[in-house]
Amino acid sequence: MYNSKGQINAFSIRLIRWLCQEELVEEIEGNLIEYHQQVRDNPVRFSRLKYWFQVLNYLRPSTLKKFKNSTPRPMFIFNPLHTIRSLVKQGASTIINILGFSLGLVCVLFLYFHIQSELTNDNFHVDKEKIYRALRIANPETNPELIGVTSGPFAPALQNDYPNSIQSVTRAMPADALVTFEDKSFIEENILLADSNFFSFFSYPLLAGTPDQVLAGTNDAVLHKDVARKYFGDEDPIGKIIRVDNQIDYVVRGVMDDMPARSHLEFDMVLNINFLDLDRWWNNGLLTYAKINTPQEAAYVNGQLDQFMVKYFGEHFETNDFRMTLELEPLTGIYFHEGIAFDRVRHGSMNTVYILGAVGIAILLIACFNYVNLSIAQSFKRAREIAVRKVLGGDKNRLTLQLLGESLTVLLFASAIAVGLTLLLHPIFNNYFQLEVVLNWSDPTLLIFGASLLMLTLLVAGLYPALLISSFDPVKILKGGKSSSGKNVMVRKLLVVAQFLIAIFMIAATLLISRQMQYIQTKDLGFDRDAIVMLSINNGNIRNNLEAFKEAFADEPDILSITAAGGEPTGFHDITLIELPGEPGTKRINIGWGDEDYFETFGIDMVAGRSFAQNLESDEGQTAVINQEAMHMLGFTLDDVLESKAIISSWNLNVRIVGVSEDYNFSSLKNQMEPLIIINGLSPRRIAFKLNANNLVSAMGNINDKWDQFSPDYPMQYEFLDESIAQLYENEAKQSKVFSAFSAISIFLACMGVFGLATYTARQRQKELGIRKVLGATAQQVIGLLSKEFIMLIGLASLIAIPTAWYFIDQWLNDFAYQINILSNWPIFLASGLAVAGVAFLTIGFKTYRAAVSNPTESIRYE
C-alpha cells in the first residue's frame, strides 16, 4: 500500500502493537513491512485494500493479547448471577429485608406525593411571580391583625394610583347560591364571583372558551366540567342558561378543566361579579389581586400603601381613632399563610408538611438501619463464602462492588414492590388520613427524587455492610475464629439505639397528641355540643318567616329547643369595638346574635341576670348578654353590671346588659378566653335545634319536612355542632392519625432490626452459651444474659428519646391555649419505653429462647 511517500501506514503498525501479543509483534510487523515492500515493487490493483486485509486478518484469537487477569471480567459478568444466587439462598431474610424496605419506601413515597402537592400549590399560574394579593392590616401599631378581604374600590384605586407599576388587577369573591337549570337545582358551595379578566389574570385551565372572553359579559358564567355534566349531562354546556338564586340568569361561556395543582382558590363555578355593589369602601368581602412586573416595583408599591390608605380612609381614621394599612402578599405565599382573619381561601399547614417530612425521614432511617443490621447479621452465614472468595483471589474492591450490587438488587426489588403497594394502598391511605393525595408518576422531580433516594439509601444502607463484610480476614474465618470486631458490634448497637429512639419518640408523641385531642374533645366547653343540628338560613322564605318556622316545631316532642342565631358557639363571631357611655376609649369585643332561646338551646349557664325575654319588643336590638371576661374587661362587677349601658357604634347599637353568662369556649380551644357580647337582635345566619339524642333520625326527618314546606326551592343545608367543632381541629386530628399510623410502622421496622441484632448475638455467643449450659446454667439465666444488653440499649434510647419527645410535644401544644400538662402525663413516657421494651423482648425472646434451650452438644460439637 502507498501513501504519498510510499511509506507504510503507521496506524496499521500501531494497531498491531496495541492489540497483538507482544512476543508476536516483531514478527508480524516484519511480515507486514516486507509485504508492503513487495506490493510497492510489483504494483497490483487494490493494493491498499489488500494490505489492510492482511493487517486485519492478523487480528485473530491466536495473535490478540490475552487479558492480563482473566478472573475480573467473568466475575463482573456473573455478578447478577452470584447476587441472585446468594439472595435466594438467604430466603427468608431476603424477604424480610425486601418487605421491610418496601414498607419504608411506601411511606416515603406517599409522604413525598403529599408534600409535593402541598408545596407546588399555585405554581401553574404563568405569572405566579408577579401576582400579589392585597391584605389589610388593622391596628398596625398596637395589635396588628391581618385581614384577607378587601372591598370593591381597592382594585381600581390601586391601578389608578400606581399605573406604572401595576399591570392589571382582578377581584374575586367566594360565594354559595342555588343554581337551577330546567328541573335540576343544587346549592353550589364553591362559586367564585370574579372580574371579567379573571381567567386571563390567572392561568386556571379552560376546556372551552378563551380566557379573555369567557367572563366578558355581565351575565357570563364558567363551569367546571363535572358541574356542567351534573346539569347538562352530555350536552354541550356552551350557551346554556342557568338561573342563580332564582333571580339572575347566566349564560355558560366556558368550561374549566381540573386544576393541574392545588390552588388557594377552590371553585367549580365562576360568575361575573358585576351584579354586586362594588363602589362602597366599607363593603368588604372581596379578594383583590394585583399583577406587578418586578419584585422591586412591588416593594415600591408596598412602601406607598400607607399613603394610599390615608388618602382614602384618612377621614375615618381621624374620627374613629383607628388605623389600617395595606400590604401586598405574593401569590405563592398565600397557601401557607395561616392566621389571617376573614380569609376566604384554602390553606395548607406548613407545620404539617414539616412534621410529615420529618416522619418520612425517620421511617426511611429506620428502614436503612434495619437493612444494615439484617445484612450484617446475615453476613455471618456468608463469612466463609467471602473468605473462600478472597483466598481464591477475589480482591476487596470487587467484593465490595459485588455486595453493593446485592444491596442495589434488593433496593430495586423493594422499590418495585413499594410502587405496587403505593398504588394498591393509595385509596386506603387517602381515606384514612383524609388527604387528597394524587399519585403523579410522570413528575420529573419524582425521578430525581427517586434516583437520589435510591443512591442515598444505597450509600447509607449498603455501603457499610459491604465494606464490613468484604474486609473480613479470610485466615481468621477459615481457622474458625470470630469474623467481626468489637467496633462493628458497637456501630450496630448504635443503630439499634437510634431505631429504639425513633420508636419511643413516635409512641410518646402519638400518645401525648391523642391525649391532647381527647382532652379537647371531652373538655367541658361551657355549652352543649351533642345532638345540636344547625340549618343555614340560605333564602328569604325562611329568613322572613323565622318565627313561623320556629312555631311549626312547637309540638314536636323530639325537638327540645330552637334558636335563630348569628354565631353559634365555636362558629363565626365578628369582632367589633365597644365603649361605655361617658367613658373614653373603645375596646375590642367578639359579637354574636341570639334570640330568647339562644342560651337554653346551647345549654349555656347564666351567672347573673336573665336571658333575653320572649316577645318583649323592648328587648330586640336593645339588650345584650356578656360573658364574665367581657364584664371584667369593661370594669364591672356582678353587682353593678346589670342594666348598664354599652355602645357599639359600628352597628349603631346602644344596648342594655341584662345578663352575664359563664365563660364558655365560643371559639377554638387554641384561643384564650376572650370577651364576648351576645345581642338580642336579628342578624341570624343559622337556626340551631336541640334534639332528643335518642330520636335523631326521626327528628331530622321532621325538620326536613317542615323545611320543604317553607322553602320548597332550596335544599336544606345542615351541620351537627359536634362535627363542626371537630373540624376546628382537623389539622391536629390528621397529625394525630399520621403519628399513630407511622409509629406503628416504625415499631414494626425497629423490631425487625432488633431481630437482626438478636440473631447475630445469639449466633455469636452460641459456643459460650453451650459451655455455660454444660457448666450448669439454666435456660432462664441464659435468656437473662442475652437480654441484659438490650435493656441497656433501650434504656439509652429512652434517655434521649424522652426529652426530645417532651420538647417536641411542648412546641406542638403551643398552638393550644388549653393544653394537657406534660409533666402529669409522665406515665406515658414510661409506657412508651416499656412498650418498646416489651415488643423487643418478644422478638428477642423468640431467638434467644431457641439458643437457650438448644442442646449444648449441638453448639460445641465442632471446633
Binding site: I8, L24, E26, E27, I28, E29, G30, N31, L32, I33, E34, Y35, Q37, Q38, F53, Q54, L56, N57, Y58, L59, R60, P61, S62, T63
Partner: protein, 107 residues
Amino acid sequence: MKGTNLGEFEELVLLVVLILQDDAYVLRIKDEVYSQIKRNVAMGALHSTLSRLEKKGFLASEMLGATKERGGRRKRIYQLTGVGKQVLKDAKEQRQMLWNQVPDYAL
C-alpha cells in the same frame, strides 16, 4: 492435545515448510503456496495454522534473520520436528497405501 491427524491445509503447510527449509517464515510460505498451487492465503490465517501445528508439536520455530526490507525486524523461521516429519510420512504412506489399492480401471 488435538489428535495427530492432519488437516488438508495443515499437511500442505508442513510440506511447504519442508520445501522452504531455512526460509520458512509466514510471508515466504504464503508466496510459495500462491505460486505453487494458486491458493491465496492471508498471513493471519497462516499464522494461526502454524501456531496450531507448533502447539501440536509438529513444528518448532526460532526468531532469526533481520533484513533491511523487513525494517530490521526478525522473522520466525519454522522447522519440522521429528514428530512432524513422522506424521507427514505416515500421512503420505496412508495415502500411498490407499492409492495402491485403487484398481487401475477405476480412474
